[in-house]
Structure formats: structure tokens, C-alpha cells
């Protein structure tokens, strides 16, 4: 029983990290129909910024967290301005490819100008303290992740659906000139949407860095693939779907590891993807997705 609860705690932590990642993808998709695979590189740039700051003498956890988040936002804004604005109203595939292109460029720049090898960044270690609640080992990171994910989802859903700025972001992403006719500074509100996703990326970067203790050029791209799967599973573009998809994926990961005989331990990922495939076969639009949302940009 203890063991089961312990594993559920672990699954929640896995799930919330996936969910937080997926939320960044879903946010950009829901506001501008862009499947932003370069989200991973926003995370990577945030991580490398901390690495540089530490190399220059930064010691404080708070400073590192601030740098990661600020650089996440800045990077997202730069990507939007340089790469995504020119393809804003192009077909979605164009945007998706641009995102891949940006991702390849940034990863290789990190390889070229920093190093292809992993670089240790121990500064965020203090965030990752394990303590015991009764017999259960819980890490502060797991709790933080869960809390941040819940707050982020609720805040984002409220912001996008209830606030006027949220409405303006959603509208601007679809019809740039008409939204200007409402007196909205459209470029600025779309940038706000990106800044939000950059904020999320910065936060995720802090979590990954605290757990890993090092950065590498593919620091963000590997987790984003999982996040993408979570988004597809939950229904692309739906924020709630991203969160649910992430959680389901986290639970699947842990459950398969626990339930499968060790002989088949290596099949964990295969089975996860197989189950995702089954869900997609049954519901191509994902668990919470609507077909309208998927086809939105074509309207």
C-alpha cells in the first residue's frame, strides 16, 4: 500500500511536468494555430542562460529562477518576432515546419558556440530536497511542479477565456486586421501570448535543471516530444486537454514500469506509444479535443 501511494506521488510528478510542458504547446496552438516545436529550444535557451550566469558567478537560487523565466520570455518573443511573424497566417504546416527549423537552428547553435557535451549547472539543486511525509518520500520539486501546474492551468484558462486581453489574444491570432479595428494593438497582444508560453518554458526549464543538474543542446527537445504526445492525447489546442494528456501520460509511464514484468521493462515507451495510438485510432481529435479546434485555422 505504501508502495502504491509512493508510486502515485511519482506519477503525479511525472504527469505535472508533462502537463506543464504540454500547456506551453497548447497555449501557442490555441492562440495562433502554431505547433511550436521550438518550445523545447526556449527551455534550452533558458537553461543555458542559467549556465552562463553561474559561470559568471551567480550563486542564488532565486537569481537563477529569475534568469530562466526572463530568458524564457525573451526567447519566446524573439522567436515570434524573427521566425513566426512572417508565417503567421500561412497554412499551419508552414508554421510547424518553421518551428522545426528554429529548433534545429538553435540546437546546432548551442552545439557550435557552447559545446556538444553536457555542462553541469548545480545551482538549482537546493530546490530539489527530498523529505518524508510518514513513510513517503516526496521531493520539494515534485510538490512544486504539481502546485505550479495546477496554478498555471487555472490561471491560463481564466486569463484566456475571461479577460479582455485574453480574448484579444485569441482574436488577434485569427484575424489580425479586424482585431486592429477594435483598437487592439494586435502585434503586441500576440507577443503577449508568446511571452506567456515563454514564461511556462522558463518555469519548466527551472524544474528540469533542478532535477538534471546539467544542460545539453537537446535539453528541451526530448521533453517536448513527450509534451507533444500529451497534447495529441488530450486534444490539440485544448488547454484542459493538454493538462489531462500530460497527467495520463505520466501515469501510463509509471504504471507500465510498475506493472510490467522486468523482462519487458524496455517495452515501457513502446507500450505507452501503442496505447496513445489506440486512443488516436478511436478518437483522432484526442480525449478532450473538438474537431473544430483542430481545423480552426482552415475556417
Amino acid at each position: 500500500m505504501d508502495y502504491a501511494i509512493q508510486q502515485i506521488v511519482n506519477a503525479l510528478a511525472f504527469g505535472s511536468e508533462y502537463a506543464l510542458l504540454a500547456l506551453g504547446l497548447a497555449l501557442v496552438f490555441s492562440i495562433m494555430g502554431l505547433v511550436n516545436f521550438a518550445h523545447g529550444e526556449i527551455i534550452a535557451v533558458a537553461g543555458y542562460s542559467v549556465f552562463f550566469a553561474v559561470a559568471l558567478g551567480l550563486q542564488s537560487v532565486l537569481g537563477a529562477v529569475t534568469i530562466a523565466i526572463v530568458m524564457g520570455i525573451v526567447t519566446a518573443l524573439v522567436f515570434e518576432r524573427v521566425a513566426f511573424r512572417p508565417v503567421r497566417y500561412a497554412p499551419t504546416t508552414t508554421g510547424l515546419l518553421t518551428a522545426f527549423g528554429v529548433s534545429i537552428v538553435v540546437q546546432n547553435m548551442l552545439t557550435l558556440f557552447v559545446s556538444p557535451k553536457a555542462r553541469a549547472v548545480p545551482v538549482l539543486g537546493p530546490l530539489n530536497q527530498t523529505f518524508f511525509i510518514g513513510p513517503y518520500a516526496v521531493s520539494s520539486l515534485q510538490l512544486l511542479e504539481l502546485a505550479v501546474t495546477i496554478v498555471a492551468i487555472v490561471a491560463l484558462v481564466l486569463f484566456l477565456n475571461r479577460s479582455l486581453l485574453g480574448l484579444a489574444i485569441r482574436a488577434a491570432a485569427r484575424d489580425f486586421s479586424t482585431v486592429r479595428l477594435m483598437g487592439v494593438k494586435a502585434n503586441r497582444v500576440i507577443a503577449t501570448g508568446f511571452a506567456l508560453s515563454g514564461f511556462l518554458a522558463g518555469v519548466v526549464s527551472v524544474f528540469i535543471l533542478a532535477r538534471r543538474g546539467s544542460v545539453e543542446p537537446d535539453f528541451g527537445s526530448a521533453p517536448v516530444i513527450k509534451a507533444f504526445v500529451a497534447c495529441v492525447l488530450g486534444g490539440f489546442g485544448s488547454l484542459a486537454g493538454a493538462a489531462v494528456g500530460g497527467m495520463v501520460l505520466g501515469f501510463l509511464d509509471v504504471a507500465i514500469l510498475v506493472a510490467l514484468p522486468q523482462k519487458f521493462g524496455g517495452l515501457r515507451d513502446a507500450l505507452t506509444y501503442f496505447l496513445v495510438g489506440v486512443v488516436l485510432f478511436w478518437r483522432p481529435q484526442g480525449l478532450l479535443g473538438r474537431t473544430v479546434e483542430l481545423g480552426d485555422k482552415e475556417v
Binding site: 510528478a13 552545439t111 556538444p116 527530498t130 518520500a137 543538474g213 522486468q262
Partner: protein, 386 residues
């Protein structure tokens, strides 16, 4: 005369003009399809080889062999390293190497055979290489079962009796079988394997595995894993912070300078031990070599560069002995030699096993966060290789 031979002839003529025309000794080309980027970048031997070759060439007299190192990035990609191997063979390399895993090295050896060339993989340890029946393959390191056996002896000496082993298919037998061999060797000392868990390379959150470890009915006092950094460093940190205070043991995958930083807390390194290829951190020959190379501007990293340097030394000595640039004669000379004095060993010889050296295997532990040598012997009982 075809166009092709015309072109080649022109190129050769140009090369003659460009090359040191006065050299008498043979010129040996070593082509390294090195993992400069990608997963295995921490385990690349290229910079050390380059540094050693430059040192030897500088010191060489007019009659001594010249070593020319050709390096291209294989991106840790087996396939690209096979293609690059072909390129080096086109350029008449006598020795080539690629990603240090069988999936690259076996096809490369088959390819090199028709040129008479040798595949010499300095960091390679996998047993498959010695089972396929390749005649032109040489590994610079001892095979994994010996590494596992040496670790088992050290673990037993430190009181380890009940071990959990973590296996992954991602590094073939290196990461999948070495833990099994460790278990077998530990059982020989009276210990036992109480559990086995699977993982994938790239794992950064080990909490499900750790929860499993804690839930085993037989409480383990040792965790063994053979994988790359930073994964294994993260495992150490997370095991410790979850209250596991037993032994964490591993293989040469641990031997990267970034291990300590990844683990973070120096106290966590107590009771961490791993078997590797040579002793570093004691100010000995390897440290001196690495320091000299670093000072000269080579981007050397650690023990794998020393392995690369040893390869160059062995090839150089063989070239000197055979006095020829013929690849087959070169290989015969390597295998006939009673031993080379190299960075890592006073007497590195392939005479006994032909495809790999027999040497002592240092097991590294930690004291106050610093690396110390716990043992440095040739293991008596070796599983699998019988």
C-alpha cells in the same frame, strides 16, 4: 587510363609536393569517425589521440614514423561512422575507428578487412566484438565482464552483499549485460542479486525505480548500473536524497569529470565506486598527460583521451618495429609486440589476447568528494569470458 586514375594521379602528385618530401619513416594514417557531438561525446578519444600524435611527431627523427590523425564528427551515429570509415579507407588509412559500439565497429571491420586495415577502437569494451570472428579488430580497453568482475570484488570488499541491478538495452551488452555479469561475479563472492530493473538512457527522474528498489522484500545494500553521465550522476543524487545509503557501483560510464558536479553534494559520493581504464586524480602519468594537452590547447576531457593517446603510442611503436606503412604488417607488429610504454600502462601488450589488452582494472571510489583508487588488480574470476 581512366579519368579516375588520372585524377588520383594528379592528387597524388600534389600531395607529394605538399608533404614533407624528406621523411624516410612510414606515414601512418589513423582515421577517427569520432563522437564529437551526440550521446557519446563524453567518451570520445579523438582529442587525446590528436595530442599524442602531435607530441610524437614533434619528437620524431627523420627515420621515425609519422602519425597522421584524420578526424571527422560521427555525431555518435553508427551509420555515419561507417561511411566515414570508408572515406578514411579511400584516403589509405591503416587504422580506423568509429562510434565505440558493435553496431558501428562490426560493419567497419568487415569493410576494412578488404583493405587490410585495422579497426582499433580505443574505448571499446563490448564482448560482441570478440565473438563475431573478426580478424582485424583491436579494442584498447578490457572487455566489460572483466570490468564487472573487478567492481564486484571491490563491492564485496566494501561489504556489499545484496544488489539491485539496473539494465538498459540502449547501449547493447555494455548497459544490458555488464550488470548481469556484475551480479554473477558478486554471487561468486557470496552476495546475491535481489532485483533487476530496466531504464532507458536519458532518464532524469528515477523516482519510480527508486520506489521499486525500496519496496523489494530483500533490502538491497548495493545498486549497480552501467550507463552514461549525466543519467548515472542523477541516479546517485536521487538515491541518496531518498535515503538510500548503500553502495552505488558502476562501470566506465561513470568516468567523466562532470560526474561530481552532476551528483552535486560531495557527501553523496561516499560509497560510490566504479571500475575504469586508468587511474586519474593522483597526479600520475595520465593526469600529467591530460594537463599537458590542455595547456597546449587540446580539448581533452578525461580517461578516454588517455585511451586515445595509448592507441597512437601502440600504433607508433608498431610502425617503428615494422618499418612499413603496410596495414597488415602494422597489425601484425601490434600483436607481436611485448608491450608499449604508454600513458596508462608501462607495458601495454596485445600478445596474449590479440584483440584486447590484459591489464589491471582500477576501481575508483570517493573520499571527501575526491576520487581515490580502491583497488587495481586483474580479476581472478571473470564471468562470461571463459
Amino acid at each position: 587510363m581512366s579519368h579516375r586514375s588520372l585524377l588520383l594521379g594528379t592528387a597524388a602528385a600534389l600531395a607529394l609536393f605538399a608533404g614533407p618530401a624528406l621523411a624516410e619513416g612510414p606515414t601512418i594514417k589513423i582515421g577517427l569517425a569520432a563522437s564529437l557531438t551526440g550521446d557519446f561525446a563524453p567518451y570520445s578519444e579523438a582529442e587525446g589521440a590528436r595530442c599524442m600524435a602531435d607530441q610524437l611527431n614533434k619528437a620524431a627523427g627523420p627515420d621515425d614514423p609519422k602519425i597522421e590523425i584524420l578526424i571527422e564528427d560521427s555525431r555518435s551515429d553508427a551509420q555515419l561512422s561507417v561511411s566515414l570509415g570508408q572515406k578514411f579507407l579511400d584516403e589509405k588509412a591503416q587504422v580506423i575507428a568509429g562510434v565505440p559500439f558493435p553496431d558501428a565497429l562490426i560493419p567497419m571491420s568487415q569493410m576494412a578487412a578488404s583493405y587490410g586495415a585495422t579497426v582499433y577502437s580505443a574505448p571499446n569494451t563490448q564482448v560482441e566484438m570478440h565473438e563475431v570472428g573478426l580478424d582485424n579488430f583491436i579494442a584498447g580497453a578490457v572487455p566489460d565482464p572483466m570490468n564487472a568482475a573487478a567492481t564486484a570484488v571491490a563491492v564485496a570488499a566494501a561489504g556489499g552483499k545484496a544488489t539491485v541491478i539496473l539494465t538498459s538495452e540502449d547501449g547493447a551488452s555494455w548497459s544490458a549485460k555488464t550488470p548481469e555479469w556484475f551480479g554473477e561475479a558478486l554471487e561468486k563472492t557470496g552476495g546475491k542479486v535481489v532485483g533487476k530493473l530496466a531504464y532507458s538512457f536519458g532518464t532524469t527522474d528515477w523516482s519510480p525505480q527508486i520506489a521499486e528498489i525500496k519496496a523489494f522484500a530483500d533490502k538491497p545494500d548495493t545498486v549497480y548500473v552501467c550507463g552514461p553521465v549525466p543519467d548515472v550522476g542523477i541516479l546517485v543524487r536521487q538515491l541518496r536524497s531518498n535515503g538510500f545509503d548503500g553502495i552505488v557501483a558502476g562501470c566506465d560510464g561513470f568516468d567523466d569529470p562532470s560526474l561530481e558536479e552532476t551528483v552535486g553534494n560531495p557527501a553523496y559520493l561516499d560509497k560510490v565506486m566504479f571500475a575504469t581504464h586508468g587511474v586519474m586524480g593522483d597526479g600520475g602519468q595520465i593526469d600529467q598527460f591530460i594537463a599537458a594537452c590542455k595547456a597546449a590547447g587540446y580539448k581533452v576531457n578525461g580517461i578516454f583521451d588517455a585511451l586515445g593517446a595509448d592507441m597512437v603510442q601502440v600504433v607508433y611503436d608498431a610502425a617503428k618495429a615494422s618499418g612499413s606503412d603496410d596495414p597488415v604488417k602494422l597489425r601484425e607488429a601490434i600483436r607481436a609486440s611485448d608491450g608499449s610504454k604508454t600513458v596508462m600502462s608501462d607495458n601495454l601488450s596485445f600478445k596474449e589476447k590479440l584483440a584486447y589488452p590484459v591489464k589491471t582494472i582500477p576501481v575508483i571510489g570517493f573520499k571527501d568528494g575526491k576520487r581515490v583508487v580502491i583497488a587495481d588488480d586483474v580479476p581472478v574470476f571473470v564471468p562470461y569470458l571463459k
